[in-house]
Each structure stands twice: as structure tokens, then as C-alpha cells.
Amino acid sequence: MVKITYIENSGKVHTVEGEPGQTVMETAIRNAVPGIVAECGGACSCATCHVYVDEAWKEKTGNPSPMEEDMLDFAFDVRPASRLSCQIRLKPELDGLVVRIPEHQN
């Protein structure tokens, strides 16, 4: 199992466990973490699963693909740490991952 911590914009913290192979978006939805909408169900087609990856984890989660970058244009308040959480797949190295949820999903 891979532990993930989601921090809401209000500061509320949710630490949950996901299985390798699942995405950060799916793990949030399964554990009813609020603030991730995921309108398109993980197809990289809606940009409503936007998160900010904690500085310490940016290298391990890697950079968005060109398709994800294009979709990030539709997200709001995009920053260098922005990712679409349906495009981050869990793996053992990501155990302890911390992501922040933006104030709004567009």
C-alpha cells in the first residue's frame, strides 16, 4: 500500500492508503477526499482533478506529459507544482506523497 496525504485549501488533512497502479485521483475518490471532482473519470479530458504536488515530491512524481500540459490550460491558478492527479500513478516510491488541493476546480 502507498500512503498519500491530501491537504485541502482550508488546511484540512486527509491521509489515506492506495494501491500501486491506481492513480492519485482514484485514491482520492475512493476515500471520499473532497475537492477533486474528476468529471471525466481520469481520461485527462477535464482538468477537474488538479493538485499541487508538494515541493519534496516533485522529482519523484515527474513532469506532466504534453497532453497533460495541454489539459492544464483549462485548470485555474496553475503553478509550477501543478499536476492532474489522474495522471499520477501510485508506485512504492511514492509512499508518503503529499499533494495540495486548489481552492477551486474549474
Binding site: A43, S45, C46, D73, F74, F76, D77, V78
Partner: protein, 345 residues
């Protein structure tokens, strides 16, 4: 007002399910007109995932959203469907001869039956979550350009990196007082030719391109005066600064909203239209609902299910239009009658 368009069936929505309904209705000699707010057929398949493969269409192990749309268009061609794109059906009411529907562009239809294949609702531009933006909408903030005159002699700001953003930057540049394009990065998802044209106008000092994001709207009442932008200044670190803006056109993609269907007097169940599973008819006889928009126990929002619903709906629509005619069950493989309709004989 122009005279109404007469049709056997009016299909609201040209997504995959609305398209296949043309086929099933056509086999029963019911001709159709289709209306969609998008400028092309395919609904979600064409708008949200044209290049992604679908794996659960029977007999097509893998087909992209656009390919599925193209194949459906080919399959329904023999029935001569008439499309009305870029229009939204706003009003629907019962009249003596059937139903009257009116679009936002003023097109009026007189239909014997209505098939609502509206999916998740009308595709509508997304509103960026900027505080107080509602107050400026339709006077200073627009999500589409309907009348160019609203931008003449104004400081216009366009936000986005796709074709719509680039096209309107280029089209409004000659008539606006100033045009500023804002995008969060230097790469665009638009036709390279438009990007080159925009860059050339920028180099000639005729428009501004800023890398950044809008963080705040400033104005009085419904009149926008300026925007606060966050972005790198002269290649340096990010800062917040203001720019003059009387008109803003943000392009943040589309989302689906039920829209006017809610006002058509139909029973609704959590924004979906309940139907029976024999006829796929709504609470109003003669108005049918198929695809993602309908609800019944066990409903699955799958293209496959929408196709099945279309076949059964067509039988019921036939009984509604021709109460005295009997439908003879036939296969397309063996019926010369059906093959004639398909233009094969």
C-alpha cells in the same frame, strides 16, 4: 420569422446516441432533423475525447471518439438527416400537430415526435472561478463572440491557448483599441499558422502577448476596467500587475449543463429524464429520451446502451406517428425493403 421546419422527428443532441437514432428511425421511414449547440457531430466523443480509444463498442475492438463519430455519420447517410449545428433548443411545447421547438437562433421546428438525446446537457463554456465575474458577464465578459461590435474601440483581453483564443485575437485586433492575449505558457494548442500570425502582430507592436494568469477583475457595476495578472515580468520572477481591460474573453474549455431542458415540463430525476424501458418515453407522450440524459433502474451511461435504447424508441415513435400501421420485424441482412432504404438496391 421564417416558416417552421417540418420534420417527422426532431432529435435534440447529435452525440453518438442521437446519430444512431437516425438509423433506427430511418429504417421505419421516420425522417429526422438534429440540433446541437456544438459546431459538429459526435457529442462527448468528438468534444472531450476525439483521439482516445473506446474499447467496448461491439465488434470494434478499438475505435477513437472521432472515428466512431465518422463511422456513424457514414452509416446514417442514406437517411439524409438534416443537421442544425451551433444552435441550442431552448423551448419545446406541445401543439395541435405535435411539438413546436425553437432554438436560440430563432429556428422553429414542427415535429411529430421529439427525441431528447442531450447527453450530459448542452456544452457550455466554463466560467473561470474569478471572484465577482458573474456581475460582468454579457456586458464586459463574454465566453463567445456573437457580435463583433461589442469589442470595437475597446481594450480587449483574451485568455487561453487554443484555436478559439488565437482566432479571436487575430479577428478582433483590427477593430479593438488594444488586444492582449494572456496564456499561462509560451506553447499553444492551436494551428501553427495562427500562432505565427499572432507572433508577427506582436512583433509589429499591434497586440500584446503576456505569459501569466488573471487573478482578479476590477471594475464598477457591470463595467470592467482592469485586470490583475500574475506572471513573469520582463523574463524575471512572477509578479502581480494590472492591465487595462474593458472586455474579457476567457477560454477555459467546455462543460455540460442540463440547460433549458429543465423548463420543458418533463419529470426529472436528479437532472436526468426518467423513461420506461419499453418505449423510452418521457412523462410526455411523443417525447422520448435516450442515451446519457435518461434514467431508469439499472441505467448504464454507455454508448452501447444508448444504441439499444434508440432501437426500441424507434418502434415506439413509429407507433406514435402511425398508430394504425403495423411494424413488421425485419433484418437488414435479408429484407429487400430495408436494403432499399439503405440505398443498396
Amino acid at each position: 420569422m421564417t416558416s417552421p421546419v417540418q420534420t417527422d422527428a426532431l432529435i435534440v443532441g447529435a452525440g453518438p446516441v442521437g446519430l444512431f437514432a437516425v438509423f433506427e428511425l430511418g429504417l421505419l421511414d421516420i425522417k429526422a432533423h438534429l440540433v446541437d449547440i456544438l459546431d459538429r457531430p459526435g457529442g462527448q466523443c468528438a468534444e472531450l475525447y476525439p483521439e482516445k480509444p473506446i474499447y467496448d463498442i461491439p465488434a470494434l475492438p478499438s475505435v477513437t471518439g472521432q472515428e466512431l463519430t465518422d463511422r456513424l455519420m457514414e452509416q446514417i447517410k442514406p437517411f439524409g438527416p438534416v443537421f442544425h449545428f451551433g444552435e441550442r433548443v431552448d423551448m419545446l411545447k406541445r401543439v395541435d400537430s405535435g411539438f413546436e421547438a425553437v432554438t436560440d437562433a430563432g429556428t422553429t421546428f414542427l415535429a411529430k415526435v421529439v427525441v431528447i438525446a442531450a447527453g450530459g446537457g448542452s456544452f457550455t463554456p466554463k466560467r473561470p472561478p474569478l471572484a465577482g465575474i458573474e456581475a460582468f458577464e454579457d456586458t464586459s465578459v463574454f465566453y463567445a463572440v456573437r457580435k463583433m461590435d461589442a469589442f470595437r474601440g475597446k481594450h480587449v483581453v483574451i485568455v487561453g491557448g487554443g484555436d478559439s483564443a488565437l482566432d479571436w485575437t487575430l479577428n478582433l485586433e483590427p477593430i479593438a483599441k488594444s488586444v492582449t492575449l494572456i496564456h499561462r505558457r509560451p506553447e499553444f494548442r492551436a494551428a501553427p499558422d495562427s500562432v505565427n500570425k499572432m507572433r508577427a502582430l506582436e512583433a509589429a507592436g499591434r497586440l500584446k502577448f503576456l505569459i501569466g494568469q488573471v487573478t482578479k477583475l476590477n471594475g464598477e457595476g457591470s463595467e470592467l476596467k482592469s485586470l490583475t495578472v500574475r506572471g513573469p515580468v520582463n523574463g524575471g520572477p512572477e509578479q502581480e500587475y494590472g492591465i487595462a481591460a474593458e472586455r474579457l474573453i476567457p477560454f477555459f474549455g467546455l462543460t455540460m449543463k442540463l440547460g433549458p431542458i429543465a423548463d420543458w415540463g418533463l419529470n426529472l430525476h436528479e437532472n436526468l429524464i426518467p423513461v420506461d424501458t419499453e418505449r423510452f418515453e418521457t412523462s410526455e407522450p411523443g417525447i422520448f429520451a435516450i442515451g446519457d440524459i435518461n434514467w431508469y433502474p439499472g441505467k448504464l451511461k454507455l454508448i452501447l446502451s444508448g444504441f439499444h435504447e434508440g432501437a426500441l424508441m424507434a418502434q415506439a415513435a413509429h407507433r406514435h406517428i402511425y398508430p394504425d400501421k403495423r411494424v413488421v420485424f425485419q433484418y437488414t441482412t435479408s429484407s429487400s425493403n430495408l436494403q432499399k432504404k439503405l440505398g443498396l438496391l
